[in-house]
């Protein structure tokens, strides 16, 4: 192995999970220097993004979290990782490039935490943000910065943005709208696609409230309102997910006989929607399956939200239509604490150092 050129050794190391890499640093000096190279975490992250290495995190105990590798067999316990969870924090919010964003149980501060490296940063909430209703967490490539967005709803929306790099709540802006706006669900994180954060909210203007998507671009601090034009789309069970590189809207038909996955494509500021999958009601699992993400092999992972114990399934799809069979299923002990079920990706990335 020592005879292998560095670029080939790096190719192998990039394919290893973070847990193994920590161990491999101790093999020899040359391995330590390859893994500790400042560029390595970035390359490693890019590779895992390409391979959709999502993990599903859930609490086993108040202070222990497990994250299941959704690319591996759901029965493969060795592919899961466990880490200590800071039990004074609530288990929800969201993950960005390996950093979990958590809210303290007292509701007065946030924690940005990379469980793989142990790096953590506490952020105090400004008084005006304590009762925030929407939140988002994203990375801005151009400034190499992580941004946290909190929003309070009312007539229009007031946004506050925290920048990790400057270590301050340095931006404040509003989306003005005459309608009263309410969230569809509490504590749902924004879905980030191409650096734009999307939330599904309800506009109360006419007699019938309308579900619309708000798209916040943090490069310009502009908010765009997207009206999903779907066949027979009505305010009922629906939520956003990120499928591959696209925003997906999950929507149940009125009789709950089908769950549909609509993919949004954007072209010249216009958005169009295509139905990419539809999951028929299945006698075994019922209709209340919640699509989570796609695996690297194109399988669909669903969470059976109303089953106890919590159950995940993988479905193989063919020509956009899902086959009815469950090909894998795992009954998880413990309980799901993620109202919005974020997914977690292990990374070795560190937060940008603060500018003075």
């Amino acid at each position: 192995m020592e005879n292998l050129p560095d670029h080939l050794r790096i190719e192998i190391l990039l394919r290893l999970p973070v847990k193994s890499l920590a161990r491999l640093k101790c093999v020899s000096k040359s391995w330590l220097s390859l893994i500790s190279d400042p560029n390595f975490p970035k390359l490693h992250f890019q590779r895992s993004t390409l391979h959709y290495t999502h993990r599903f995190p859930y609490l086993v105990q108040a202070n222990q979290m497990r994250a299941i590798d959704l690319n591996a067999s759901l029965h493969d316990d060795s592919a899961a990782i466990s880490f200590d969870f800071p039990s004074d924090y609530d288990v929800n919010l969201v993950c960005c490039r390996g950093f979990l964003l958590l809210l303290h149980k007292k509701g007065d501060k946030l924690l940005v935490w990379n469980p793989s490296t142990g790096e953590r940063k506490q952020i105090l909430l400004p008084k005006t943000c304590i009762n925030f209703e929407l939140h988002g967490f994203c990375y801005d490539e151009s400034s190499d910065d992580y941004l946290i967005v909190l929003a309070s709803l009312g007539c229009g929306i007031a946004f506050r943005v925290f920048s990790i790099r400057t270590n301050s709540w340095n931006r404040e802006f509003a989306f003005n709208h005459p309608a009263s706006i309410t969230p569809l669900y509490p504590e749902v994180a924004g879905s980030v696609v191409n650096g734009v954060i999307h939330w599904l909210v309800r506009f109360h203007e006419g007699q019938i409230p309308e579900n619309n998507i708000l798209a916040l671009d943090l490069k310009t601090d502009k908010v765009r309102q997207i009206v999903p034009k779907l066949d027979d789309f009505e305010p009922r069970v629906c939520y956003l997910r990120v499928f591959g590189e696209s925003l997906a809207l999950i929507d149940a038909t009125i009789d709950y006989n089908e769950i549909n996955v609509w993919e949004m494509k954007e072209c010249g500021g216009k958005s169009s929607w295509t139905k990419v999958m539809s999951i028929p009601r299945n006698s075994e699992v019922g209709a209340l399956v919640s699509p989570l993400c796609l695996t690297k092999d194109g399988q669909l992972v669903t969470l059976h939200s109303y089953l106890t114990p919590l159950t995940l399934s993988k479905w193989s799809s063919e020509q956009g239509k899902l086959e009815g069979d469950r090909i894998c299923n795992s009954s998880l002990k413990g309980y799901c604490c993620f109202a919005a079920t974020p997914l977690y990706t292990e990374t070795l990335l560190s937060l940008p150092s603060q500018q003075s």
Binding site: M1, E2, C26, S28, K29
Partner: protein, 162 residues
């Protein structure tokens, strides 16, 4: 090159002769260039040398011959499944002797599929190993001093030296 040629002869770095079919050789860019450049007709004596040892070249050619039909024609999904299983069996080889030679050969011969397969196999092997197992199987010497080991242990709680 005449279209009637179905197989070519190449030399390994040890000087042994090997036959490889034209369709299999097409899996490698450098071999493909050789096909275009070098005269492989019967009255031509020149046999190109490939800088890969015999033991490795046997395996590389075996891989090429197996993958050639699919690469050249595009095959059904069931073939892809079968090929995947074959790859797994094919990669069950003695690591220190040959896996890294295969990896270097795949790199040198620009064979993307084999390269990825070899990297992934090596990574999968390492995933479950302890540090000392890795050192043993890959012949790596522990060059940390005991002070350095102590320091690493403190800085990286995930590190283990056994």
């Amino acid at each position: 090159m005449s279209s009637s040629v179905e197989a070519i002869t190449v030399l390994s770095s040890d000087g042994d002769e090997f036959k490889i079919t034209v369709s299999a050789a097409k899996l490698s860019k450098p071999l493909n260039w050789m096909l275009e450049d070098v005269c492989f007709s019967d009255d031509c004596d020149e046999v190109p040398t490939i800088e890969v040892n015999s033991k490795t070249l046997v395996k590389v050619i075996e891989y090429c011959e197996k993958h050639a039909p699919r690469a050249n024609s595009g095959a059904s999904d069931s073939d892809a499944e079968e090929l995947k299983k074959w790859d797994i069996e094919f990669m069950k080889m003695d690591v220190k002797d040959i896996l890294f030679h295969i990896l270097m050969a795949a790199n040198y011969l620009h064979m993307e599929g084999l390269y990825d397969l070899a990297c992934q196999t090596a990574a999968d092997l390492m995933k479950g190993m302890t540090v000392s197992q890795i050192r043993k199987i890959f012949h790596i010497k522990n060059d940390f001093s005991s002070e350095e080991q102590e320091q690493l242990r403190r800085q990286h709680p995930g590190c283990s030296f056994d």
